[in-house]
Symmetry: C2
Subunit: 190 residues, 2 copies
């Protein structure tokens, strides 16, 4: 499990073997069942997760009490509520397991300690983070100006594995349509 984390980081920056041990020692493994909360909105998010297996979703409850899925994050990606984690302010989003999920977690204070020990890591994590933010924006932008059926088609193309692995209702909430409509779209393409 620790290997997947190191392999992931090394996509962006080679890590000397001794540093690899240091880095993994900072992370704690965790395990969640589908539907479990990794983090509940309302508090400050002090954890940075690396998803080793499974899929999580970033969720808010809107004014009407409807659950809205902002993003999915699957294995081999970092996940936190960045605005909360960075600025130490309460988050309105929650992190939920969309399937059974295993993670490696590091708290903010331990991350800062890690940065002290291995200063180059801050730049690496920041670079990864920026790339991921751009990906999120690009993904969301790709849905703009399209009707429900087209958005679903785009989603299938961009995230075929997520489409297979999470419940229909979660995909519907992600695409901004009702589960009934998505079911209809699945059936006859409109």
């Amino acid at each position: 499990m620790e290997n997947t984390l190191i392999n992931f980081i090394q996509l962006f920056q080679p890590i000397p073997a001794p540093d690899q041990t240091v880095i993994t020692s900072f992370f704690e493994p965790g395990s969640f069942k589908e539907g479990d909360y990794l983090f509940r909105g309302g508090k400050t998010c002090n954890d940075l997760f690396f998803v080793c297996s499974g899929i999580v979703r970033i969720v808010v409850i809107n004014e009407k009490g409807v659950e809205v899925t902002h993003f999915f994050v699957k294995e081999n990606h970092l996940c936190t509520i960045l605005s909360s984690f960075n600025n130490q302010i309460p988050a309105d989003e929650s992190i939920l397991a969309a399937s059974d999920t295993e993670v490696l977690a590091i708290t903010r204070s331990r991350l800062l300690t890690l940065y002290k020990e291995l200063p180059y890591m801050k730049e690496v994590i920041d670079r990864i983070t920026q790339q991921r933010l751009l990906d999120k924006i690009r993904t969301r932008n790709s849905y703009l100006g399209n009707d429900s059926a087209t958005r679903y088609k785009i989603f299938l193309e961009q995230e075929p594995d997520i489409a297979r692995r999470v419940p229909l209702k979660d995909i519907a909430s992600y695409l901004g349509i009702t589960p009934q409509s998505l079911s209809r779209i699945r059936k006859n393409g409109k």
Copy 2:
């Protein structure tokens, strides 16, 4: 005009007076009429703009040939196509003046030279950039799961000045609705 740039940067980091002169000397002023292109998609975006006055919008033409507005950027904010600018790859988005606009522009190569002269500037620009990316994501997320009338209401609350200063059709394209529908919503709130 150069003052607004320095004031903006100083919201994030104090800049010593001599450095202020260095920084501004790297930027070139530019002026655009409503409808002008600041940058045309298809090429690599080599400019980072600081919008001194006016409003620009980030736009793509989708498969159906319909223009979709991804974001508005108003005065006192940086603007570029970051994925293109950073990774030196062609951009699919364009930057258009949504009103008469004045900017200060710096090319990527000159920005890298600036970083050589004032190394702390990279961290500052990166921090500003990350904050803006988070803002963009938060803004877009706030529209998710809402109908057209609600999205327009949210837009009015979040960006009252942009709502006043850009054409209705641009707002419609930003909110993912037709100009006719937005006109109807304006009239009777639904």
